[in-house]
């Protein structure tokens, strides 16, 4: 069954924008969605897969390499042709073992055929694609360490059981979770380009519409998909256009200055905030068909790009969203 169409998600505009922007420019670096249960977090992530354009990869390559020379030698890829496959969106389940994430000695082959072979893990499958972690705040610390290391270097290195394996592992992290159930380490927070907070819609009519669509999806699947799939296709075309236009979007000195002053006012750590903010604003401009980043783009992009980067006292409970909004009003009138 095809996942619920992205276009049919009611409301949650900030979350949808963030997903679209990260699809336009993967360099923005993924999305973190925090919010209550049953607000459509995982629905949106699964729907995102349908919006992503397919990638060209060498046939049979376990790490989706674009060219034959990029294929790791342990994979013993013999094909030379490339084929088009959907952008991988790989689930990283909670309670996953380290072996499953990084890959390990292929026990089955070792035991039955006496061969020493490498069984690729989730990181290999996620290369050039998206890695989705539901309930990311409940992820065990040692897996988080591992992800941080790989995300930093873009390479997965496995050194154990007499094997020395390395392969490219460049992926965009998408996470979702419920902040009431635990906190996320600042290092991991920083790895996400954008972060959005979702809540259940408050208006009865919106809620009714959400449920009506979900019910139609489950009980009247064919008609529902006939109505919404074309809209998903249109959105995907728009994303592709924006991707093409991205390189041509200009960012003036004023825009750069605006980005920097917002970040300075908020006291966000490092320069990653500025970079992400600029990239996000540029992707937004490309999506809206503008050829230059304006202050309006920056203003719209700032909350999602900066919300999770503020220096945070672990005991401070003030919402960071409010702080960003306040500073924005002052710095970018």
């Amino acid at each position: 069954m095809t996942p619920f169409p992205f276009a049919a998600i009611v409301g949650q505009d900030e979350m949808k924008t963030a997903m679209i922007l990260t699809a336009i420019d993967p360099k923005i670096g993924g999305v973190l969605v925090f919010g209550d249960r049953g607000t459509g977090k995982s629905t949106a992530v699964r729907a995102l897969a349908a919006l992503l354009p397919p990638i060209e990869a060498v046939k049979g390559c376990p790490v989706n390499s674009a060219r034959l020379e990029d294929c790791p030698d342990w994979a013993q890829v013999t094909e030379t042709e490339t084929t088009s496959r959907p952008t991988p969106v790989v689930d990283l389940p909670l309670g996953v073992t380290e072996d499953r994430v990084t890959g390990a000695l292929d026990i089955e082959r070792a035991l039955t055929r006496g061969e020493k072979a490498f069984e690729a893990g989730l990181l290999a499958r996620a290369n050039r694609g998206y890695l989705y972690i539901d309930e990311v705040n409940l992820l065990e610390d040692h897996i988080v360490d591992l992800l941080l290391d790989v995300a930093q270097s873009g390479e997965n290195v496995v050194e154990r059981e007499g094997m020395s394996i390395r392969h490219a592992a460049r992926f965009v992290l998408v996470g979702s979770g419920n902040p009431e159930e635990g906190e996320l380490r600042p290092q991991l927070l920083d790895r996400f380009g954008l972060s959005v907070e979702v809540t259940s819609p408050k208006e009865i009519d919106t809620r009714v519409e959400v449920i009506r669509r979900r019910d139609a999806y489950e009980n009247d699947y064919d008609n529902f998909m006939a109505e919404w799939q074309p809209q998903d296709v249109a959105l995907r075309a728009r994303i592709l256009d924006a991707r093409a236009a991205l390189a041509g979007v200009r960012s003036s000195n004023v825009a750069l200055h605006d980005c920097a002053s917002v970040c300075v006012a908020l006291g966000s750590d490092g320069l990653r905030g500025e970079l992400t903010l600029l990239r996000t604003a540029r992707a937004l401009a490309a999506f809206e068909g503008a050829d230059e980043v304006t202050r309006a783009h920056i203003r719209e992009a700032a909350p999602m790009a900066l919300r999770h980067r503020l220096r945070r006292d672990p005991l401070d409970e003030a919402g960071t969203g409010a702080r960003v909004a306040r500073q924005l009003a002052e710095v970018l009138p």
Partner: protein, 560 residues
Amino acid sequence: MPEADPWEQVTLAITLLAIDPKGLRGLWLRGRAGPVRDRVLSGLGLLVPRKLHPFTSDEALLGGMDLSATLATGELHRHAGLLEHAGCLMLTMAERCPPGLAVRLGQALDSDPRLSLVALDEAAEDGEGLPNALADRLGLFLDLDGFAWSDTADMSISPSLITSAQARLRHIETGTALERLTRVAAELAISSLRAPLLALACARAHAAWRGGAEIEDQDLQVAVALVMAHKALAFPEDAPDQEDAPPPEPPQDQPDQSQNRDQSELDIPDEMLIEAARAALPPGLLAQLQAARVARQAASANSGAGAKRKSMRRGRPMPSRAGKPGSGARVDVIATLRQAAPWQKMRRAMMPGRAMDRLLLMPSDIRIKRYQEQTDRVLIFVVDASGSAALARLAEAKGAVELMLAEAYSSRDHVALVTFRGNKAELSLPPTRSLVQTKRRLAGLPGGGATPLTHALEVALATAEQARRHGMTPTLALLTDGRGNIALDGSANRVQAGEDASRLAKIIAARAIPALVIDTSLRPKPQLAELSAEMGATMIALPRADARSLSSTLSAALGG
């Protein structure tokens, strides 16, 4: 709602689940194991559930290699996982379900419409319950508490009636049911949007069951009673009562409730359906579920600075030993080969048919790796908010706790908060890693009243024991001025209080629960030093401790 026979309601729920497991997604069955529950389970026989338990391994869930068959034949054999079969799963001891498994099951339910789940929740203590990830997804809820054997009867559900109801299911007219259920969900402050959807499925199944062509009031009443009532956070009339229940997120709840108020003024609430929800709930159940929900929210993932325990997956390596792979254990290839090597010649003679150039392994050769890891530590703060403490140094005590919280944050500890004043102590916050919640509770802590030190020790001991049962390592931090004046039975008897406290302190020492006592009084008294000695605790006098010395003493005491 008409006074229905409660047992009929139970039978009805099981019938509806049998009709539409796909729409209802499952059943949350609360109640201890016993003949009554067995009767309900026998009714579930139509669904032919397959069992899993909270520590079911990934391999059992998702499938994996069948080791004995593989080794016996020399060819790869796979066994299918529980989640690969369509149908109904039954999770026993669901209250012990770790978050990882809950999320997996939740994802499986989301992605595979053919699956449904019956969760058997045997919660015995406050703060235990079904993980929220599952509670949110399962449609039906039944509470078997209070059913006597004589109230019940054998469940006779006719398979042919079920089949004919299933045939009608697709043709039921929904009418305005959807709008009404959504509205009721909002009235009951249920924020998850899964609830109305599940209730709609329930109403539809009920309409099909009684042979109707469209959803009517009675169907909606049943749906609200079975699906929504237990998820309610508030009833329109008694919204102020919410103050009593521990609110999980006050800043967000407030607008929510005021919204509901506005709504109920604008539209007349669906009284009939709200009544149905109210009637479905035995008194006290909601508060209990709420407590479990909060505790579950507080619980979170593993690893920390606690004691060591053995593990198959991570930590410092230990010698490998015989065992079966799976359940996350890793095969130690070298040790396995070493074990198998001496027997090769003999085995070849015994198994002449096998290829000569291959190693012959037997399941008993397999060696698995073992590691030693650290478990979570939970810091239980026992904070004195009595009049004598409040007058002098409650603020300093709070400061000291915050200092320790910062310490806990850096070592990824869980924290729990026991406060005591007046005539009793209470667990204000079950073990959590959310420091924000702890801080919030602490800030709102009022002072005044007598000093029920003994009761505080009792609550702290119970919390520590419970944490230990959950695999965590508890440490107590007691902040008091030491003048306990309320005995365990609640009487204001200073002598009895002293004896009780000393007895409890000795129990704490005997259970080897590490403890730290911080004397917050202006002039430290010998009684508290004695108590601390009996507890085997490190003692610090706050008046003479500045932030830095407190912090270093703490690190020494806790760093262990």
